[in-house]
Symmetry: C2
Subunit: 431 residues, 2 copies
């Protein structure tokens, strides 16, 4: 297991924080992020203004260890999807904790990760468009140490990519992963025949493109019915294996190992099991791309984790590392509180935030599991609570979030806290 | 009518753009925003990578003129809600176009606007929390020219504010607006009695707080049934007028004029009409706080505008100034395209984006009114289209957005384009 520094995850905190950043106290003069631990700020003492999203350091490191153990046990590589957090510091932490590569969702994200020194990137998407292809070509030409993968799922896509690669003078082939999809799903070839046609087209484009593996994403399968979803996921993973089996080892002549990749954050156990007995007569690397394991959450992935547990996943479990804090700013009717956070501060795409605990100035706390957030406006949350609950104007509410990807993108600055809520470090994000 | 510069809305473009910002071509070396018009970039020519959100300059200025005419005709003041865009350049544009004040949604936003020199701010929210109150107190003490308003709707809130104001040594009273609410709604006193109790408490806190007016927000009333919503809005505006009438002119002894404020972007016509014959024996200023008029949209406020038209609003209408551009990155099944934009790029809280036009490299365009975006993932959009429609991998799709507030917050950099899609200027945002 790679060494993890518990003391700091920020290697070069030159980024200047000032009070135009949400979460920084008004009047704070600019200072480098690397010095944030020396400010003496504590969230419980109200040293930082709310709303505020905090990242719990011990949970972050716990989750990294849980994932490391899982990967080691199953002989898997990880290319964490860093679109989740878009934070160079977390990218560094993931790489230093053994991640094999970093996954990006589009070329803008590749640009960010490249700026922060990442040398192996999977663009888990089609590479499309004049500027996007130009940039990748120029970067591949300029840096022989840069290893880059992207997806293809159509003849038209292969031609588009090859044509622009030629136009921009690509000096070595782009590695592409053949994407398998499922009916009614997102991108990816739906049938073996489609996939074989794409591979045939890749042979024509061999000068510009090298087939490097097979890829799929099971995470967009609807989980409304968990049992049905699991069946679909297994069926889909089976199709990806069929895809690989249908390919000729000679199609992979351009690479030293074949990449076989799937696995978001909801089914990495299923992917590991499904891919464990994979037979293919070429050295291969099985790559998971989970992004949300790092912080986990209090609802969407918390439910996935329960399902994994029910499926027999053993060992320590992932825990929720993110909390959004806000104030009770009004109790306009009995049992109804308005909180000072909204769509600008927390995710609302799958579930609304989960109230966890109430804090008051004398630091007495109260469990809020009987409370529920029922609606968000841009800057407000509506929380229903039992009338017997001791809640007042100015109380602080810590809420768990659902879906880390749409939590991180609401914050440019995120303080990292220890278990006493001292601010020990901080993140910046690049959305 | 105030003078509007059509040539530039950016007064001090020292902000450095580089390719870690979404929308800036990969490999671009840092350059000041003020020079963006000299890059010669054109969106139709694919000089910028997609996804990209563009702001159309002519429409922006058209909308400003439409709102100015409306305000002048009805004798109203505008404190535009700048939480919508959080862009200092648009704040400057609004102020130079006659806005009386700027509205903020929380203290973090106040900090941003203050940093960019705004001297009159309405915090359309309760002011709550140690750091938030401290900052406002210190800023009021430090700058006699800073005029600040916030809301109160409870005795507890008044006490909280007065207590912290005293603790932090406030040197002149904070101006507060009494907030009226409606049953089942957000913040605000539900009854005249509650409101009068708050005002009585304000008398006890006279040293720290000055009553400066009455405020409400009708925009959070559900518009599922437009006719019912209109009735509720009128009833609520009537309650706000009752509130004002119930107050004693002596309660306003601390101010030269009484502020009476309501009006988001969906009902400013109704507010103007309802408040037109307002009688109160003290000089008064009626303040609208619309934020979304500036860019309007292609769905949510487009529907509101139709309702305003039906209610008899005359003159030029607001138009949609924002478009999000993306690529067709896969056509995995007949009639189904996957676009290279997602929740990270466009609003999804009320409606999904509206496909407008398709562009191809030879610049032929196609109307997409028969297409529909049915789902968004973090980085993908699912678009259904008639099978007869000529659509290919790599085509560019311009989509309209719904709800400007959740469009702006997805972009740190937004190019401003002329009608030929030349990039003539650019915005930065401070979310």
């Amino acid at each position: 297991m790679a060494q993890i520094s518990e003391s700091s995850i920020f290697p070069a905190g030159e980024f200047q924080l000032d009070d135009t950043l949400k979460g920084i106290p008004g009047g704070t003069k600019p200072f480098p992020l690397s010095q944030i631990g020396q400010r003496g700020w504590n969230v419980l003492r109200e040293d930082l203004p709310l709303p505020l999203m905090v990242l719990k350091r011990s949970v972050l490191h716990h989750n990294i260890r849980v994932m490391q153990s899982f990967l080691e046990e199953h002989g898997l590589s990880l290319a964490p999807h860093a679109k989740t957090h878009m934070s160079p510091q977390l990218v560094q932490l993931q790489l230093s904790s053994g991640a094999w590569a970093i996954t990006a969702g589009n070329v803008s994200q590749v640009q960010v990760f490249r700026r922060f020194g990442v040398q192996r990137i999977i663009l888990a998407n089609q590479l499309v468009g004049r500027q996007n292809v130009r940039y990748v070509v120029e970067d591949l030409n300029a840096d022989r140490g840069f290893e880059f993968f992207c997806l293809v799922d159509s003849i038209a896509g292969v031609r588009h990519l090859a044509s622009l690669a030629e136009q921009f003078g690509l000096s070595r082939p782009i590695k592409v992963l053949l994407e398998g999809g499922y009916w009614g799903g997102r991108t990816g070839c739906r049938t073996l025949q489609q996939a074989c046609e794409v591979v045939a087209e890749l042979r024509n484009a061999r000068r510009w493109l090298t087939l490097a593996g097979v890829e799929g994403f099971e995470g967009s399968i609807s989980r409304d019915n968990p049992a049905e979803a699991l069946q679909q996921v297994n069926h889909y993973l089976g199709f990806l294996k069929e895809l690989l089996a249908a390919l000729n080892p000679e199609d992979f002549a351009g690479v030293e190992e074949v990449i076989f990749s799937a696995g978001g954050s909801a089914y990495f156990d299923v992917v590991a099991k499904s891919f464990s007995a994979l037979e293919f007569p070429v050295p291969k690397r099985i790559v998971l791309r989970s992004g949300c394991y790092l912080t986990h959450d209090s609802r969407m992935y918390a439910e996935s984790a329960k399902e994994m547990l029910a499926r027999g996943l053993r060992g320590p479990q992932l825990q929720a590392a993110l909390e959004v804090w806000s104030y009770v700013q009004s109790i306009p009717e009995k049992g109804s509180a308005i909180l000072s956070m909204g769509k600008r501060d927390c995710p609302y795409d799958y579930y609304l935030p989960t109230p966890l605990r109430r804090y008051r100035s004398d630091e007495d706390t109260l469990d809020l599991s009987a409370c529920r957030i029922t609606r968000l406006n841009d800057q407000h949350a509506y929380m229903s609570f039992p009338e017997s609950l001791d809640l007042r104007f100015g109380d602080r509410i810590a809420s768990g979030i659902s879906h880390p990807c749409t939590a991180f993108d609401k914050w440019r600055f995120i303080p990292i806290v220890n278990d006493e809520y001292d601010v020990v470090d901080g993140l910046i994000t690049h959305f």
